[in-house]
């Protein structure tokens, strides 16, 4: 009897998705954005501006101020002044009310923020509308409630604020990362100088407008824009009490070295190379969806992306087959289209890096499989990509690519997969797919990662602590544990 061919999913149809673009006419953007220091938008000391572009069209959206050391200094001074004069003296429950206001204003202006996030960063409107912006609002809402309850969170310790927090955030979740940083800092009574990434300053600056509208006392939050040296200048500033950084492991290491020997407190949320592990008893269709979401969510620009897939050998053929089928259905293109699954790569630089890794993967001997989809001629796009027959030593299995590229390996035993999953400098997150509860808890206790998703992936919640082991950084954001980095006891 001939071997039965696995059934191919019939995705072919004459029906096409009609374009369903999100309207952009309601958003309010300025031609030029200044620095937000001491409650006011002020011109940068350098007099210099840089362009922020739409990565899906390569068209300029706006000019953004480039801060220099002097601007950093005045932002820190404003934060210090606000800390000394108002914020540290304000009763905690009144502090909370300002944070609640910010949460409400984000909710009210959610659609505008979503559209701008998509325009400026390239992520699909569906994700910015349904994930980034609501989570950002919820984060403020959640931490607002903690402001007057800190004594309960840390009994017998009388927690106190630190002072001025310098926060540097990445371009993959611009508004959400700003919320993750600012909300707990304010709730614990600190003041803030925040620097968004240079390719995605706009929603942080819209947040500055919201903060102005909320009536938050001047200087409590300062937002300064620019490139790497601005962040470096913040890290080295003498009057900053705490640095919170989310970004690459390399920069994280540099920051840790730079603050060595000072009293600055530090938290780092760095890179990852998560193992997504599929056992033979897993619900395969669900797992395939989980793999797709794990690696292609936000174009793979996710530090906790499930970028290493481990499939148990007995189901590898089926999983890979279904995965290829599913890959074919992903819609790559205009991020503003509500049908789009995978939007634009955030920048030219990142696109080059991803393409470089595709070459490395092929040269190292892995088998590349890409969706046959067409991608727009303009803008920064890449086809969703699988690498089959990879091994643990391949660079694409070891290094963070930060793009829609999945490295697939197979395994036979639990021992083997635990060993392989852990054998990497990173330890941010992992995924486990199995029908067996006892196996999930076995894996969660043995995987060296800060977040383990079981039969789900890429789930975030303001109440849930997030952060890494090993070279994925230290400190947690979210939940009760997310208060600790901003308090002294």
């Amino acid at each position: 009897m001939a071997k039965k061919e696995p059934k191919k999913l019939e995705y072919f149809t004459d029906w096409k998705y009609a374009p369903s673009p999100e309207a952009t006419d309601h958003i309010r953007l300025q031609k030029q954005y200044e620095l937000f220091i001491n409650g006011k938008f002020v011109k940068p000391n350098s007099g210099k501006y840089f362009d922020t572009i739409n990565p899906a069209t390569e068209e300029k959206i706006s000019s953004i101020a480039e801060a220099n050391d002097k601007d950093v200094d005045s932002a820190v001074n404003a934060a210090r002044g606000a800390y000394d004069k108002t914020w540290s003296k304000m009763p905690a429950k009144e502090r909370a009310k300002y944070i609640y206001r910010i949460a409400r204003l984000i909710q009210e202006r959610a659609r505008e923020l979503s559209v701008i996030e998509t325009l400026d960063g390239g992520k699909s409107i569906r994700e910015s509308r349904d994930i980034d912006v609501p989570l950002a609002a919820n984060h403020f809402f959640y931490y607002a409630g903690w402001a007057d309850k800190l004594e309960y969170a840390f009994p017998n310790r009388h927690p106190k604020s630190l002072g001025v927090a310098g926060q540097v955030i990445p371009w993959n979740f611009p508004l959400l990362m700003a919320a993750w940083k600012i909300a707990p800092a304010l709730a614990t009574g600190n003041t803030v100088v925040l620097k968004p990434a240079e390719t995605t300053s706009l929603t942080a600056l819209k947040l500055a407008e919201i903060i102005q509208e909320s009536g938050l006392p001047d200087g409590v939050v300062n937002i300064i824009t620019g490139h790497g040296p601005v962040g470096a200048s913040m890290v080295n500033h003498k009057d900053i009490n705490k640095i919170a950084f989310t970004g690459s492991t390399n920069v994280g290491k540099w920051i840790q070295k730079a603050v060595a020997g000072t009293d600055k407190r530090l938290t780092l949320e760095l890179g990852g190379k998560a193992a997504n592990i599929i056992f033979e008893d897993a619900p395969i269709n669900q797992a395939v969806e989980g793999i797709i979401n794990g690696i292609f969510f936000n174009q793979g620009h996710v530090c906790c992306a499930g970028s290493r897939l481990f499939v148990q050998e007995s189901v590898a053929e089926e999983v890979i087959h279904k995965l290829k089928d599913r890959l074919e259905t992903l819609i790559v293109g205009d991020p503003l289209d509500k049908n789009t699954d995978i939007g634009a790569i955030n920048s030219k630089m990142q696109l080059n890096k991803i393409n470089e890794y595709l070459k490395i993967g092929v040269n190292d001997g892995a088998e590349m499989y890409q969706s046959s989809c067409t991608i727009p001629k303009k803008g920064f796009f890449v086809r969703p990509t699988l690498f089959l027959n990879t091994s643990q030593s391949h660079r694409i299995s070891q290094e963070e690519i930060f793009g829609p590229v999945l490295a697939i390996q197979t395994f036979r035993t639990i021992e083997e997969v635990i060993e392989k999953a852990n054998n990497i400098p990173y330890g941010l997150s992992a995924g486990v797919w199995t029908d067996k509860g006892s196996r999930i808890f076995n894996l969660t206790s043995k995987l060296r990662a800060g977040v383990v998703w079981a039969n789900t992936y890429n789930k975030f919640d303001p109440t849930s602590p997030f952060g890494g082991y090993k070279e994925s950084g230290f400190g947690r954001e979210g939940g009760l544990h997310g208060l600790m980095p901003y308090l002294k006891f």
Partner: protein, 292 residues
């Protein structure tokens, strides 16, 4: 000719609606402006109806995301802030000075915001992963008790009621409240706030009437899980305690000075929570020592 004012009929609040008491009875309440309000003198039957409604609302309310409950409590605070003037006026009619009325309303709003914040946080403080000696993942989490009967504080018109209701619903319970007998009007106006704050119908039910008449029914009902008595009345307390034993109701006496900021906190929530412990096996194969 001078315009004649339209007077408000104060009814009761059950299942998100404002029915009159089924008993048709009333008691007169003289206000400071010399007007008289005929307050519903609710019956045992009103209470029993309310319990059925509260029980029906429990599964929906307790399974709401904690975050969503927080949003709704915050919404109540927003609505109350917006109707501050009305409450100030009503409190004055009940004999409050202007300053006392202002303090009462502002504290009530702040208390709602305070408990809104607790909705998705008390679980993190009172849950535990228990390090049992066997290969089990063992964890304990609080869960709401169910339907709670509340005899609200007699001495305050608004703050006492809110101080008892807020922690009760923040924790996912539903309740039937007997308003202050001598100051019932604000409670019913507060029900209007609840009715326009996205609080699902039946989560909070407020009736007015005689504590003397109703305390025995509040405490003896077999489908009520807990009773909170905010007053200290020796005879009533004994009856309540004895009746509660019929179905092992949890009894709490919250006879507090609610204007004291210390009289708020997560322990008001945990009073009305059960603790549930779950055991789950952990498979133990794989590397014995973690190497990285």
């Amino acid at each position: 000719m001078e315009r004649i004012e339209v007077l408000k009929t104060y009814k009761i609040f059950i299942g998100g609606q404002f029915p009159r008491t089924e008993s048709g009875r009333y008691y007169p309440l003289k206000l400071k402006n010399n007007m008289t309000v005929n307050v519903s003198l609710s019956s045992r039957k009103d209470f029993r109806n309310a319990v059925v409604i509260a029980r029906g609302a429990f599964s929906g309310w307790s399974s709401r995301a904690a975050f969503n409950r927080g949003q709704i409590l915050y919404r109540i605070a927003e609505m109350l802030e917006g109707r501050k003037e009305q409450f100030l006026e009503e409190l004055k009619q009940l004999g409050y000075s202007a300053a006392a009325a202002k303090k009462e309303v502002e504290q009530s709003i702040d208390r709602l915001v305070y408990y809104a914040g607790w909705c998705d946080k008390y679980q993190q403080m009172f849950s535990a992963v228990n390090p049992v000696a066997t290969a089990h993942f063992n964890f304990s989490v609080p869960e709401p008790m169910g339907v709670v009967a509340i005899l609200a504080d007699e001495s305050t018109a608004l703050l006492g009621l809110i101080s008892a209701v807020a922690p009760c619903i923040a924790g996912g319970n539903t309740c039937i409240v007997l308003a202050s007998e001598s100051k019932p009007t604000c409670s019913i106006t507060f029900a209007e706030v609840l009715a326009t704050s996205d609080v699902p119908g039946g989560v909070v039910n407020i009736i007015t009437g005689s504590r003397k008449e109703l305390h025995a029914h509040f405490s003896s009902h077999m489908d009520v899980n807990a009773i909170i008595n905010c007053n200290f009345e020796k005879d009533f307390n004994k009856t309540i305690g004895e009746n509660a034993s019929l179905n092992v109701k949890r009894v709490f006496t919250w006879n507090k000075n609610w204007s004291d900021e210390k009289e708020q906190g997560p322990y008001f929530i945990t009073d009305l929570q059960e603790i549930k412990t779950t055991w789950h096996p952990i498979e133990n194969i794989g590397v014995s020592g973690i190497k990285y």
